[in-house]
Subunit: 463 residues, 2 copies
Amino acid sequence: MSKLPAILSRLDADLDASLARLSSWLEIPSISTDSAYAADSRRAAEWLAKDLESLGFTAGLRETPGHPIVLAHRPKPGAPHVLFYGHYDVQPVDPLELWDTKPFEPVIKEIEPGRKVIVARGACDDKGQVMTFVEALRATIAETGDLPIGVTVMVEGEEESGSVNLPAFVRENAEELKADFALVCDTGMWDRHTPAITASLRGMVYQEVTITCADRDLHSGLFGGAAANPVHVLAKIVAALHDETGRITLPGFYDGIEEPTNQQKADWADLNLTEDEFLGQIGLKHSVGETGRMLIEQIQSRPTCDVNGIWGGYTGEGTKTVIAGKASAKVSFRLVGKQDPETIAAAFQAFVRERLPADVSAKFVAHGASPAVAVPVESPALRKAQAALTEEWGRKAVTIGSGGSIPVVGDFKRLLGIDTLLVGFGLDDDRVHSPNEKYDLSSFHKGQRSWARILQALATEGA
Amino acid sequence: MSKLPAILSRLDADLDASLARLSSWLEIPSISTDSAYAADSRRAAEWLAKDLESLGFTAGLRETPGHPIVLAHRPKPGAPHVLFYGHYDVQPVDPLELWDTKPFEPVIKEIEPGRKVIVARGACDDKGQVMTFVEALRATIAETGDLPIGVTVMVEGEEESGSVNLPAFVRENAEELKADFALVCDTGMWDRHTPAITASLRGMVYQEVTITCADRDLHSGLFGGAAANPVHVLAKIVAALHDETGRITLPGFYDGIEEPTNQQKADWADLNLTEDEFLGQIGLKHSVGETGRMLIEQIQSRPTCDVNGIWGGYTGEGTKTVIAGKASAKVSFRLVGKQDPETIAAAFQAFVRERLPADVSAKFVAHGASPAVAVPVESPALRKAQAALTEEWGRKAVTIGSGGSIPVVGDFKRLLGIDTLLVGFGLDDDRVHSPNEKYDLSSFHKGQRSWARILQALATEGA
């Protein structure tokens, strides 16, 4: 541990340079879901591979049917070996007009006295988070000439589009990816001062449905009153997905979910998360979640269903008296416990088909299906990381559930047989997936310091 | 009447040249609802004014707060005077990918043996229809050196965006627009072989509603399960607009509508319009209209409600796990009888507001409101036109109701005190407002001949 103070001092001194590095990565618009940005995705991957190579990793790009994966190794025989996972792709930026600054021109802003943030698409999710780990590696190597443990870094470019090619890659390269456990930096803190380790993640089923009525768009003056309108059909389906108590109405949807223990309920009650506190930051006051559940339960440990997008007919300026031929929606379900993704995808499709009037058809595109995962909360690695985080932040690191989904955690367990330690420094107000995404400089800086501490801690013997 | 055969022969000989003229007008993308095409709208207006000037009209553009109005006069003291109305603006062209050819590059196609059509945005609605009248004027003047009656031509550029500036223009220029009655060429035939005069038109209320929940787009993994989703709120509202029998549920919506007489029902039954015949052409088999009403009643004489567009959240390629801050819909109602547009607009807004959960707000944009109108079916002018149409087409011209709305007809009655004769040559399969809009060459050619006959007929004495 004696080397740690020097490493931490180096990180403090190097903060501006590390921000410049992050900025140059953020300038590359690596939007994975839009094929127009494929070349940019590759550039973002190359940027990271080159940086890791400069740290003494054997690093390069590995091809997939989609965007390449950055894979880098720095083994240390005899020491523990970790597999770090992150992603270099970012969400689309629309609606662009709601950004105060350009999404791929990072800026540093002081949003309240003493609180600086970096604003850009990917500032938090996940480039900023990935770089907390990379900067910890850099400072450790610079200060000590080595790392205390062996490290493999795998950073993919398709997390925001469902990680469709990652499971096959992990399966085919299981031997090369072998590690004692995985580290992931793509999660959040409890609040701005309290670090957290995420111990459970919701799964996800994402389906796109297109309803077709007539074989073309129609003039509502000629055909209105007789021709089926796909927007009406789709609206009735969406409206039927939740009942008046906020429960999701797909038959069998809640199968495989356990009720929380009394201890769990007591822990939640202690955290005392209020609607004002959680929803107030986004201009809301009332949860629309399941009646009779605590807010924290609704957002962390209960399954959800949200329409993420809907479109049909004329959506431009002014008017058009059209009855659309088609209307579409993107619908996602967050899963918990032992809910089965395939069963729920099938239940959704059946639910839609049962509600189609005569003449009307539905087509589906599956955008991914992954189960919920839970990580053991009593592992030695988790306890070491928890102690290191507590040391850095001066507050006890809590273990939390996350509403988000990181399917790779399930893949690591299933395909590599290893558990994952999820440590991240995102905040609820980071506007992840929204305009004006940001990352607090305190998250970025103390995140680097946290990883430096965790790397040293993981090298120590015993539990 | 002795001059008519020569005029008709001239129209026959001049068909190719008249098609070339129409094509050059169709090439101008005069999309009134999109401000990006404002200069094109003006060009389309100038094109027509110049053409009318070449026919000896005093013609020019008259400015409005929006797009200009083409106004042209050719008086004939002592003879009847008619006010012809049409519009030079066209609908937007999206979805562009569904067009087989470019919307503003007109092409002539043979869609079945012996049946040729011209394909372009505006081919029928309303440039093609307007030019049937203009070509009849041209041939009559060329052959006889004069017109048999006085003619004012008023062609506006905002019909597809609700004719918002037309009523004020008509009111302010009532003296200049004085006429015995109005002619409008913006309606359809009964079928490809049977001409029709439209005797009633539905009115229209067009509202755009935007539902706002959170003050930004949210990550569904962080906020899903608690934050209100505006797409869900909007879907529930749209789903509630119709009941299971196809009736519209706005309170008081059906006030002011009379039931059809037994004679009207018998006339409808005689026309024997079947679902196969009417909906089969667009790939449907079953009407979703009000249970217990004949199909022809549903589409012509009953009020309707259609969502013409809906959008919210992520609508691009792939996935985005977002809960939108806002979602919007464009909703239009077709009105009949004495339904009051303002009352219905207010009822719609109240209907939406009553269905908003806590924290959720709605904003409205009104895109126009006009009542239904009926024209007298026993006027001398109508009988003369009916005889002329019957002569041209070899089938008795029928009087029909139209599901569409042409608010100017109500304006002419209210502001100028004149009735309107609605004669048009559109067909149900013209794909008006849809990709691949077309106009049959038989409509274009025999439409010109029909107007030539009507012009001569209107000059004759008596009933």
